[in-house]
Symmetry: C2
Subunit: 327 residues, 2 copies
């Protein structure tokens, strides 16, 4: 593999000249340009990016940590994030952390090892203290990781309120509410608190089902649904994360109840799968593209050296009416 020195020799110029030519920096005469171009073609030269990176101490790679890309929320996030990173000239390293408990730590370590310039993390298994030790560009998606780490999230309180009000407006009197594990500190729990608050305020009964932490697989959701149905619980409204709501709706249909006639559904997140089922789900939709864009914008600034303490970004949610509610 030819190096810049080979090119310089072949072209009969100095390495500095070749380097300046390659980077369009400083002065290079037309004559030298031509000679270098010739030599490059002749030797089929491509600059070694690694040497560049070593010098600049930058790789232009951002690690994106998610529990699991096959989860629609995260696959959409990753999709948008990759496109946006590309726009900024970054490459994306993808890290699924669900599979192995210390994968998260290992990927964070790549920051110190100079393999990646920054990390966008949508993951929460690690102790917050681990993050505080790292003084490098990190952006948290929907997660509090300490003072210095900016958070990108949606207004979950508003989301909880919208869901509650929708079910109330639909005349629900007994609502099944699937909650994410509340042990973990995350902005998204706000939706549960607010949902419960509004429901109580309107004297609507809620049955809370607490989901296990970090179980995002469909198998688990199905198990939960079967569990609920076998308990013979009656309900006329459901609020839960997309896949949970969908599994629950399917079981409802299978047990010959009408949707939205007998039971209304409001899903949380509003990923594409809520539009893929029949009837289409009414959903509180998170602006995933916005979350991705903001995350990338922030990481770009951080990598660029501008310090942004507590520059959190909160985006608005929106209710998308489907056919699982009548109003």
């Amino acid at each position: 593999m030819a190096s810049i020195r080979d090119v310089a020799k072949e072209a009969g110029v100095g390495v500095g000249t070749v380097s300046r030519f390659l980077n369009d920096s400083g002065y290079v005469s037309e004559e030298a340009r031509a000679k270098i171009e010739n030599a490059m073609n002749k030797l089929d030269y491509t600059p070694n990016e690694l040497a560049r990176q070593l010098f600049h101490k930058k790789t232009g790679i951002i690690a994106v940590l998610v529990p699991n890309v096959s989860n629609p929320f995260f696959s959409e996030f990753v999709d948008y994030a990759e496109a946006e990173l590309y726009r900024y000239g970054f490459k994306m390293m993808l890290c699924n952390t669900e599979k192995e408990s210390n994968a998260e730590l290992e990927y964070l370590d790549m920051l110190r090892r100079h393999i990646v310039d920054g990390v966008i993390t949508g993951v929460h298994s690690l102790d917050v203290e681990e993050y505080k030790k790292i003084h490098k560009p990190i952006v948290a998606l929907d997660r509090y990781l300490g003072e210095d780490i900016p958070v990108v999230a949606v207004n979950h309180k508003e989301g909880g309120r919208l869901a509650a009000e929708t079910l109330i407006a639909n005349g629900c009197r007994k609502v099944l509410h699937f909650r994410g594990a509340t042990e973990v500190e995350s902005p998204y729990h706000e939706r549960h608190y607010e949902f419960e608050r509004v429901m109580k305020q309107h004297d609507v009964e809620t049955i809370c089902y607490d989901l296990e932490w970090n179980r995002l697989d469909s198998g688990y959701y199905r198990e939960v649904v079967r569990n609920v149905f076998s308990m013979g619980i009656e309900f006329d409204g459901v609020f839960g994360v997309d896949r949970m709501a969908i599994e629950c709706m399917n079981e409802t249909i299978r047990s010959h109840r009408k949707v939205p006639g007998d039971v209304k559904f409001v899903a949380y997140d509003g990923t594409y799968i809520t539009e893929m089922v029949e009837p289409k789900m009414t959903a509180v939709v998170q602006p995933i593209e916005g979350l991705a864009k903001e995350s990338v914008r922030l990481i770009h600034r951080l990598v660029g050296g501008r310090i942004y303490k507590n520059k959190n970004v909160i985006l608005n949610v929106e209710l998308r009416k489907g056919d699982t509610t009548v109003v």
Copy 2:
């Protein structure tokens, strides 16, 4: 940031000794070990991976090219591939190529720039000639890219046969067949040919609808469905890729026809979404985990320097009966 030379000086040893200590290669006395460990802690030293990579001309990064990670087939593939790459000690760079026409080329160029050690590509927009020029580790997912590039795919012919036989066994007489664009050379077209062949053999009428090339978004599928329904075409069976089949089924249900009573459905791919809809889809399922594992195994070998010309891998498909067919 401390370097290995700082550590050597602090510990009062040579850089070679520190390097040998870090890599557990060659001789290092207990005494030296202790001194180095001390110095490392004192200086909070982490080796710079970039310098290592420059020397070894390896980054341990594999690029995975897919049109779009939010497509369930690819998100599952990427998910499994990431896990498997991790097992081999590789990191994954994710590249969505759909957004921009020259993204594919740009990502391939990273091979030459030494940014990635290998590429697994599930993408087809580029001219095959482009690939032939690159003599670096490349594995193709479901795609022919020339003599030297190994292909990982399933037995699509078998898949087409299974689908056809299922619809025939269900007594279908007029079947809607959504086909991927056949201009592009890809193993997966086999399923269409075989499907048509078997149908014709059994005198079952098929209506072929050719889909546009590389349009994988839900919006397009919905548009196609609306188009078909507005044409007033009658059919009692449908064969198409997961999302196409699902969109078609939803429209069928909305137009008050019964599934599987009036219309039977067989989906191709069998990603999780076919199990998420109600009724569950009967599907020809691709062993996505197997595809991912084989792709990674091959790229690992290629990166390891063992040449494998034409070592293609063909996996078996399987029919998973759901509730959109009666047999």
